[in-house]
Each structure stands twice: as structure tokens, then as C-alpha cells.
């Protein structure tokens, strides 16, 4: 009987899911896609007094372009970080391009140590979803406190991006 009940609830769940999928129709993509700031979640922390660590957590089915990724800081500037190599993706127009999936972690060396201060990290990124849409270049900002101690500071997350409320 338990198996029968399972089958019933499964049938119900399946038919409900099918019904909902049918219901979404063309606006479905609009509903099933994530806004860029949820598809690509930026956070950062101070690793020590002269290094920031920025990371993007990338939702499954989405990717970021390596050559669209830029970081800068103020009031203390940063050197260009060494970006991870990423995965190669062939693009009919741009040739082979490097992309990031799942996560990308970048160490950003500051031009000088800044213990006990607060920096603004500016991060530019641009990415797409595998279903066939791309999001515009996304400039984001984060405020990162540099600890006075030698221990890493806490991660801070970026607020919503410029294009989305």
C-alpha cells in the first residue's frame, strides 16, 4: 500500500510539474533564469594586510568570461591579479575564449599594506547562461575591511548589481 501511495504522490507530483512547465510556456525562460547577481555571486575578503581575495560563485548552467573580468581598488590601488586560466570555449566570432564555471577565486595584491583600513573593491564581470542568453557587463562594488591583525577578514557579499533592483 505504501508503494501504491508513493506511486500516487509521484503521479500527482509529475502531473503538477508538467502542468506548471506547460503553464510557463514562452515566459518560462524569463522565470527560470536567474538575475545576474544571483547567477554570479561576488564576495570578497582581506586575506592579510596586502592581499584581497575576490570570488564569484557561479550557478550551474552559467559562465563568466575571463577577459571581461577586471578588479581595481581605492583609495589604495591594486596590482593586476593573476586570473586563473579557466576553461576554453570556442566562440565563432572571438575564437577560443576562456570561461569560468562553478567558482573562480582571485587573489588581488594591493600596492601597499593597509592594515586597519577600509577599501572599495570594484569588480567588472560579464557572463552568460547555457540556455542562450547573456547578461550585460556588470560593474559591482564591495567595501572590504582590512584587519589590523594577521588573520583574514570575513567575506562580504556584493549588493544587487547595477542593472537589477
Amino acid at each position: 500500500m505504501a508503494r501504491l501511495a508513493d506511486a500516487c504522490s509521484l503521479a500527482l507530483a509529475c502531473s503538477l510539474a508538467a502542468g506548471i512547465a506547460v503553464a510557463q510556456g514562452i515566459p518560462g525562460l524569463q522565470k527560470s533564469l536567474l538575475p545576474a547577481d544571483q547567477a554570479f555571486r561576488l564576495s570578497a575578503r582581506a586575506l592579510d594586510a596586502h592581499t584581497l581575495e575576490a570570488r564569484f560563485d557561479i550557478a550551474d548552467g552559467y559562465y563568466l568570461y575571463r577577459d571581461k573580468m577586471r578588479f581595481r581598488t581605492d583609495p589604495i590601488s591594486a596590482h593586476d591579479p593573476a586570473l586563473p586560466a579557466g576553461e576554453r570555449k570556442h566562440d565563432a566570432f572571438f575564437g577560443d575564449v576562456a570561461t569560468y564555471r562553478r567558482e573562480v577565486v582571485v587573489r588581488i595584491p594591493l600596492a601597499q599594506a593597509a592594515p586597519g583600513t577600509t577599501l572599495t573593491l570594484h569588480a567588472d564581470s560579464q557572463g552568460c547562461a547555457d540556455v542562450g542568453v547573456c547578461y550585460p557587463p556588470n560593474p559591482q562594488q564591495l567595501t572590504v575591511a582590512i584587519p589590523a591583525s594577521k588573520y583574514p577578514g570575513p567575506f562580504v557579499e556584493a549588493a544587487g548589481s547595477k542593472w537589477f533592483k
Binding site: 500516487c8 503553464a23 524569463q30
Partner: protein
């Protein structure tokens, strides 16, 4: 539990199982009907939607000449928001070129609005032998597309306006050839 007991419970089960099955089937049908109803609600012709916001646009083309969308009033207008940095946009544009060539004489007009700068647009237009206007919207075109229903601000985003100036279709993501052909068959005057 012995084999006999199992058999006995099986022998007893059918009436209950069929009642359960009927119940499950009924609920499934109701759910599907609900889904289908909602599907109809979502995909119902949006012919009453006013296309005035689109037909009122004036944007520069890649050569800097101002182009009013109103010049194409009375045609089936396919307005495509795109960018050279958007791979899926570039991939679908040769299809648009083919359909413009085939159906342009029947009253179809494609218009691209590029979220991009003129140099890149010109280069790409030459590459795909673009046979319809590529207007330059810059990043402001993202905000524009949001006011036209592109809530996620993603590309490509395409709006089809019928000959009466009403929005007939809105598409986020690639516009499949079959969908496009179906729309045009419905919206163009029958020969």
C-alpha cells in the same frame, strides 16, 4: 509475512488500487487542466498590448543618422536587442538575415538595437552581411528593453509588433526559426 499472506493482500488490493488510481488520475487530469489553462493565459495573443513605446523610438544607426521606428509602421516589425559580446545573439542573426531576405518583400522589417558601440556593430554587420538596420542603443538600450518587458536585462531579447502596431510576441533568448516562421505566417497578409 508468508507468501500466502502476500498473495492474499494482493488479491485484496485491486479494488482499492483502482480506486486510488482513479483518484490519482483525476487529480493528475485536474492539474494538467490547471496547467493548460494557465498556459493559455500566459501564451494568449498579446495583440492588445500597445506597441507605441517601440514605434515611438528614435535611435541613431551605425553611421550616426537618426532613425525613427515609426518609418516602419504598418510592417511586421521584428525588433531584436543584441550585442557583439553576446554569442547567442550573434548566432541567431544569420537566420534573421535569411528571413529578412525572404519575407522583406511581404512586409517584414527586422530592426536590431545594439547594446554596443558603433565600431563593433559595423564590423559585425559586414561580417554577417546584415540586410536590416542596426541601431545603436548603447547600454541605455538595456534600460529601454527593461521597460519593454526584459526584466532580467539579458540578451537576445526580441519583440514582434504586428501591422496594427500591437505587440504580438516577446522573446527572451534565441527566437527559434519555427516560432518566427509561425508568427510571420499568422501576422503577414495571406497571398
Amino acid at each position: 509475512m508468508s507468501e500466502d499472506a502476500l498473495d492474499a493482500s494482493r488479491a485484496e488490493a485491486p479494488p482499492r488500487r483502482s480506486r486510488r488510481a482513479w483518484l490519482a488520475g483525476g487529480i493528475a487530469l485536474a492539474a494538467l487542466a490547471l496547467g493548460a489553462g494557465t498556459a493559455w493565459y500566459h501564451s494568449r495573443p498579446t495583440a492588445t498590448t500597445d506597441g507605441a513605446a517601440i514605434l515611438g523610438l528614435v535611435l541613431p544607426d551605425a553611421d550616426g543618422r537618426q532613425q525613427a521606428m515609426a518609418q516602419w509602421r504598418g510592417k511586421v516589425l521584428v525588433v531584436n536587442f543584441w550585442a557583439t559580446w553576446c554569442a547567442p545573439c550573434r548566432e541567431e542573426m544569420p537566420e534573421f538575415v535569411a528571413v529578412q531576405a525572404r519575407d522583406g518583400p511581404k512586409g517584414v522589417q527586422f530592426v536590431g538595437i545594439a547594446v554596443d558601440d558603433p565600431d563593433k556593430v559595423r564590423t559585425f554587420a559586414q561580417e554577417v552581411k546584415l540586410n536590416y538596420p542596426a541601431l545603436i542603443g548603447g547600454y541605455g538600450a538595456i534600460e529601454l528593453s527593461k521597460t519593454l518587458g526584459n526584466e532580467l536585462a539579458a540578451l537576445p531579447f526580441t519583440i514582434v509588433v504586428d501591422r496594427q502596431g500591437r505587440v504580438a510576441h516577446t522573446q527572451l533568448g534565441p527566437l527559434k526559426r519555427a516560432t518566427l516562421d509561425g508568427l510571420l505566417a499568422r501576422l503577414l497578409p495571406q497571398a
